[in-house]
């Protein structure tokens, strides 16, 4: 059992320090998944906060049947759903803001491509490629079949490769002209 799983069990018994350690260890993954789900940085932060708030009472029921990371990600999916529903009732704000604009780096364009994926593909892609979950784990978090994860990851990649290739071709044309 990893240190994280041990800490999660201690948190379930009421150990505040262990709870903090678990939350801090998982906050990036939770935020990334929320971001993949809601597609907006501000909403993702809101959803991640809501996830951890929910975990305060829910962690008492954690028995370690699943790895604690999957447990938190499942909680994050529900919290993101709630945050999205609330956001739809609010007046619309600026939608997609690519995360890296203030800090350009080599991966900016690739990030933008992921951002443009449909939500269900993006979700499967981020869980498996960014958080490194297996297809089975991702299926558990998403509440769908393993085959669905497999096909969504593939479809996401198809779109990414196509968009990337198209982008490169455009660049070549610009350089030549």
């Amino acid at each position: 059992m990893t240190g994280l799983e041990v800490a999660a069990r201690q948190a379930a018994k009421g150990d505040g320090q262990a709870f903090e350690a678990v939350c801090r260890a998982l906050q990036d993954d939770v935020w990334r998944y929320c971001y993949a789900l809601v597609g907006d940085q501000e909403l993702a932060s809101e959803a991640a906060q809501e996830t951890f708030l929910r975990s305060v009472s829910a962690i008492r029921r954690f028995r370690g049947e699943a790895p604690v990371r999957l447990w938190f990600l499942t909680l994050a999916r529900r919290a993101s759903g709630q945050v999205l529903r609330q956001a739809r009732r609010r007046p619309p704000t600026a939608g997609w803001a690519p995360a890296e604009e203030a800090h350009p780096g080599p991966s900016v364009e690739a990030q933008l491509l992921v951002a443009q994926l449909p939500a269900e593909l993006r979700q499967a892609f981020v869980l498996t490629q960014v958080l490194g979950l297996s297809y089975a784990e991702a299926a558990r978090v998403m509440g769908c079949a393993v085959g669905t994860v497999r096909s969504r990851v593939f479809r996401a990649r198809e779109r990414l490769v196509a968009a990337w290739t198209a982008g490169q071709r455009e660049e070549d044309v610009n350089v030549d002209g």
Partner: protein
Amino acid sequence: MSTGDLPAGCARARAWLSAYRDGEDLNDTEAAAHVASCPGCTAWGQTLDGLTGRLRVRPATSLDLVGPALAAWARQPAGRRRRVAVGRLLLGLAGLLGWLLAASRVAGVPPLGPSISAHAGRELAAFEAALSVGFALAAWRPRHADGLLAVAVTVVGFTLVGSAADVLAGRSQLGYEVAHLPLVAGLIGLLLARPGRPPRAVELQPRSLGDGRSPPATPATDSPNHQ
């Protein structure tokens, strides 16, 4: 480009390659042979591998996402423990007093208020005894409190409305109605001791999170929490 434009063999081979790159699908020699012999699929695989390297790096946030949860955690246990303790005490008292009252009726001790028939008195005693046992049970095991709550609310509601009407109409006096205090104490005890979600201690304030702090997203690094 989508699977629709591709020959079935290419589509199947690329789907396999996608899963294979994730270590999910290993035994498909046919698809592997196709990828090796099809220039289009080989190129697709190379673009995919190049792209994967770029996509591994990801934006994260430097915001403190767990602060509100930690604050809620810090407040919740102590406050709740005290609340439950008070609730259980009230439940215990309500159970004991209610049971004594019920027993006194059965034993024929005349009630405080206007007398009722012995038969009605015994029926009333049965109800009081039952509720008292429920209160005592909830004092012992607070997880039973939720189940009893609807019953207690109904009984207390009916009793208080009836008592108020009787007092106002002059059929009873306020002093006689103190006999209902155990009921009310039991209801309050149930509300305090019942398990359930702790009250949310911290308001979500996502809009003000960025104020005075670092920008909402950092360039992707392996330790995105640097401040």
